[in-house]
Symmetry: C2
Subunit: 419 residues, 2 copies
């Protein structure tokens, strides 16, 4: 009753663009990889891999070379790698404290970057889009001649409507229902849409693709700043929920009757208890201090023995542990990854976090869970945005490439870029 | 570049057992369904449906008939329905307060049932398996002559290791690492394994397949008794986590510094604040009262104006609302379903729950969520266990049927049953 093996020619014909995308994704995510390895990972025979690789090579997307220095028996399997300079994406990040734009090549290397501090006040849609579009056009103009932009992605610190990049709710910047994706696309003027995602969702995917938890099926990414965003991978996929608004770990209520006020209007939310403000206020710092540097100062002071700073870190650690224990009980993940300012907080408060896990997580659910700081550091969210931008290319490489090539010629954008 | 349509003969040959299973699943879950409807749902043409239906009819699993009374134009599409008396499963439920066994026919009808109160003390593996195996053999003996048992499933109020049915942690009965599935299979002596699942996981799947949330992609089922179990459907699938131990909503900490003691050894867990004991103790009831009837008495007394009962229901409702708000923020579900004793508590405390959702859930995540009591009532968990037992048949109908027929003949079980 099992499905018989299909003849390979059938596979090549029927699933060609699909398999081209899968092969390119392997090369993009894991770098130089041998044809033999590709054949094994994709469950295809070598002659099929040869045919697929030839198509991608002809399109200029990959190159092949003989691996150096092995000198083993027999003919070594050729290594396939992304070809530099052929295609790239633009990725943007609207974070609490800064605005960033990068150019990312196939293979994932960030090859160019612009960033600016985000003004704490007056950061309306116009101002943010203005800064980002200026950065984006600079990146586009200075890309190598002949290189093709195949996608644009953006990470935003708020709740994003899937499909059209509308910011439904962005408490840090005070945005409600702002058409961010459309506005940025128009201001860039490159004739391409901008795919927008929530920063912690993108961070989770990036950590699972390129960071601390490569290949894990169940992973939780916690991104701390003023608030705490969550990105949760369940069974290999981002938990989206019905509207794309799941993963709001930051507003999990953990201190309902005695909690600190939260930006959402409630009290005692996870992010109110462990966010930047709680850490700074508990340590007795003046209201004028904020941001990553201020957080690091408290942690450094705690290391040096400052009692108020130590007590603040200890309290934050206990609340962080409560929230982490809750999500471990709910998701039975293989790993919890701490990103944003939690990259600094977690190592300082690891004892408190582990103590809470030991008490609050059911034994069978804590048997194997790992706790890690972000493998991608402050790039986690923008790397996720870049992957969002690469997604169409990795679904249909030749189709997307042909579409962008003709669009570039038709619009004269190619000429403008080399001007 | 799109995948061309495959010739239909290819589909029938290659995916025959797969498609037979899918068709049988449609008939099993949605009852009598026309060939035309099956063709549309499965994306196959009518002649393929005809061929598949003929195979299932020949195997005795379905029957076809002309629908009555439509009188429209043209020839009416034949209706396919499960054939009664041909195959069935046995399903068991080890709940906090009782032990249940049922026989369930293809199509989902519960056609026979035995149940007994579970003793609060001394309910060790031997005793539980003894009672269930006795029930199971009775159900087997009294099944119609010629009917074939195609699977056995069990629901248990604790954490179950996937694959082998070991109860890793069952606080209500005090079980740790007990080989429940294997023991029940051996004691039944039917030559079949017993597939075991956590009661709330199975309840969630049953509610999504046959209950309040049919077809929903994101659904949360909360099963209350002494504790609160959770079953969470994410993107159409049960959230399992790395080891199958996810969904432990009951041990989400919501009252860390002032909480009631929990059976898990911690304090302030969701289930400690909203479980049966909290309701009864807050209402000032004596420790000798427990169980579903005692819960209903408090709720009835609250309805009649008893101030202590009213205050207890109000407090439970507030905590219930906090927990429900948390899972809505995390999962952005289409529906939250209240099962077990929460079927009684939620209607009495709906105002408190809705008030917490209004304050604590981010507006975009509460836009469309529905709150419902279980559509399957007290059968939710055992219906889930029956579906677990049907799963192999619905994957490979003819293979499973042939296997069971030959096993029954070889072991003489068929003869014993008709004796």
């Amino acid at each position: 009753m099992g499905a018989p093996q299909e003849p390979e020619v059938d596979v090549v014909t029927r699933d060609s663009s699909h398999n081209l995308g899968i092969l390119l994704r392997h090369v993009h995510l894991s770098g130089p990889v041998s044809r033999a390895e590709l054949a094994e990972r994709m469950g295809l025979n070598r002659s099929t891999i040869l045919a697929l690789t030839a198509e991608l090579t002809a399109a200029g997307l990959v190159s092949e070379q003989i691996p150096g220095g092995t000198g083993g028996r027999g003919r070594p399997s050729l290594v396939v790698r992304p070809r530099p300079g052929r295609v790239y994406v633009l990725a943007f990040d609207v974070a609490v404290d800064k605005l960033t734009a990068v150019r990312v090549e196939l293979g994932g290397a960030i090859v160019d970057r612009h960033e600016a501090p985000r003004p704490r006040a007056g950061a309306d849609l116009d101002l943010v889009v203005d800064v980002l579009a200026r950065f984006g056009r600079q990146l586009y103009r200075t890309a190598p001649a002949g290189a093709i932009c195949v996608g644009i992605g953006a990470s935003y610190c708020g709740m994003i409507r899937p499909g059209d990049g509308v910011v439904r709710y962005g408490p840090d910047l005070g945005w409600v229902d702002q058409a961010f994706g459309t506005a940025l696309s128009q201001r860039l003027g490159l004739g391409m849409p901008v795919a927008v995602g929530n920063e912690a969702h993108l961070g989770a995917q990036a950590e699972q693709q390129r960071g601390a938890g490569i290949g894990l099926q169940n992973l939780i990414y916690l991104h701390g700043d003023v608030g705490v965003g969550g990105g949760i991978i369940v069974g290999g996929k981002l938990l989206a929920g019905d509207g794309g608004y799941g993963c709001e770990v930051g507003h999990m209520m953990i201190n309902p009757y005695d909690g600190r006020p939260c930006l959402c209007g409630s009290r005692g939310c996870f992010e109110a208890e462990v966010g930047e403000r709680a850490l700074l206020q508990n340590a007795g710092r003046p209201d004028s201090e904020f941001g990553r540097d201020a957080v690091r100062t408290v942690i450094d002071d705690a290391d040096r023995g400052d009692p108020a700073a130590q007590e603040s870190v200890r309290r934050i650690g206990d609340w962080l542990g409560i929230g982490v224990a809750n999500v471990i009980n709910l998701f039975n993940p293989g790993m919890v990854v701490f990103g944003g300012m939690l990259r600094d907080v977690y190592p300082a408060a690891a004892a408190e976090v582990r103590a809470r896990i030991a008490v609050n997580v059911l034994p069978v659910a804590r048997e194997r869970v790992l706790l890690r700081t972000s493998g991608l550091g402050d790039n986690a969210t923008i790397v996720g945005a870049a992957e969002l931008a690469f997604a169409p290319l990795l679904t249909d490489p030749l189709g997307v490439l042909a579409g962008r090539e003709s669009a570039t010629v038709a619009s004269g954008l190619g000429a403008r870029r080399s001007a």
